[in-house]
Symmetry: C2
Subunit: 212 residues, 2 copies
């Protein structure tokens, strides 16, 4: 073996397990109690000692960040799955809706994030990048299928989404956003030249060219 010098042990199983437990507990506790929730409460819910929590996440913000990263990754994976859906436009719409739900369930976390984003622009960059890619892959597919106009960038779409969700303190915001999203998606559609969309969904480039 040529890597004898920096040989790396397999991480201990209990450490991995505990880390995961803390993340899961933190998600629940922060959502319920906001960003000032007690870290000791998180540790207790995770069934670990406070020392363990601090070893894994030296600062409160480290914990926020890890929780959030995980969620962003989940949204990213959702996009991956949706890529195999039949209807590309519907797939995009679903992803956007999931995003709204995501925001909706993050009552406490969103405040925590406002705090964290401020000190870690790296996190902001990471999540923007990740989400842009997710949205981009879905958008591209819809465009490639000739069902959506191609002059809107993923960044724009993401920004619109985020902007819409920005007012999520106001009553009834969620249904309002969902409505606006539908309008938005409709606006993105290639105008209905012909008829229904009940058609086999084989994303072939040939079809795209033909349509154009």
């Amino acid at each position: 073996m040529d890597d004898q010098t920096d040989q790396i042990r397999k991480p201990r199983a209990d450490a991995v397990r505990n880390r995961e437990r803390v993340l899961e507990a933190a998600k629940v506790v922060f959502n319920a109690g906001g960003p000032e929730a007690s870290l000791e409460a998180v540790a207790k819910r995770a069934g670990v000692g406070i020392g363990t929590l601090y070893r894994h996440f030296p600062t409160r913000e480290d914990l926020f960040e890890a929780v959030y990263r995980r969620e962003v990754e989940q949204l990213s994976e959702l996009a991956e799955q949706l890529k195999t859906a039949k209807d590309p436009v519907d797939a995009l719409r679903r992803w956007l809706r999931s995003n709204v739900e995501f925001v909706a369930t993050k009552k406490g976390m969103s405040a925590a994030l406002a705090l964290t984003f401020q000190s870690s622009s790296e996190l902001a960059a990471f999540s923007m990048d990740r989400l842009t890619k997710a949205i981009g892959s879905l958008l591209d597919r819809a465009v490639a299928a000739g069902q959506m106009r191609g002059d809107v960038s993923p960044e724009d779409l993401l920004r619109a989404l985020v902007g819409m969700c920005y007012m999520h303190d106001q009553p009834g915001w969620q249904s309002s956003v969902l409505r606006m999203l539908d309008v938005f998606v409709d606006g993105l559609r290639v105008q209905p030249v012909a008829k229904a969309k009940a058609r086999a969904a084989k994303p072939t480039k040939a079809a795209v060219k033909r349509k154009r």
Copy 2:
């Protein structure tokens, strides 16, 4: 006198003074230390006992809120002053710029606000109302003077401003926003069809060099 029963004393001078001192101190401390800054530090800087601080502002959020309200009122007053400026368009632009500066100096406070807005939608309503009126008075004047189009509501303008400032964690956001604001204001101007400048009737392009 029939109002003897609910006769109201003049508020004590020291109470008024102390309240003001605490607000001023809080502004400084929160901007520097963020929303988690120690209230005891605020009291110390204000030169009052911790008990006094709590009597005036029972909760941390009450204090945030009071500080913010004061600032909103100051912006409101600024608009009042700008109403007497000669150039209505320039007045509006200046107010918008002041707003950006306002956001810029609120490093810590903005995070605190994110927290407070969440629990007090009344505060959100108050500030929206106040700022909408401020922006509206300036906008109206420019419209009345025939220098700006009349189909943009103060709410829209405010929302655009807020939205632009929303990304104020990213590097270089401030100059970017200022640039976008200029573009925006240019867009709001009544197109110089037959206006002052002797310019060829070339289509569009805000190549207006507005430096007199």
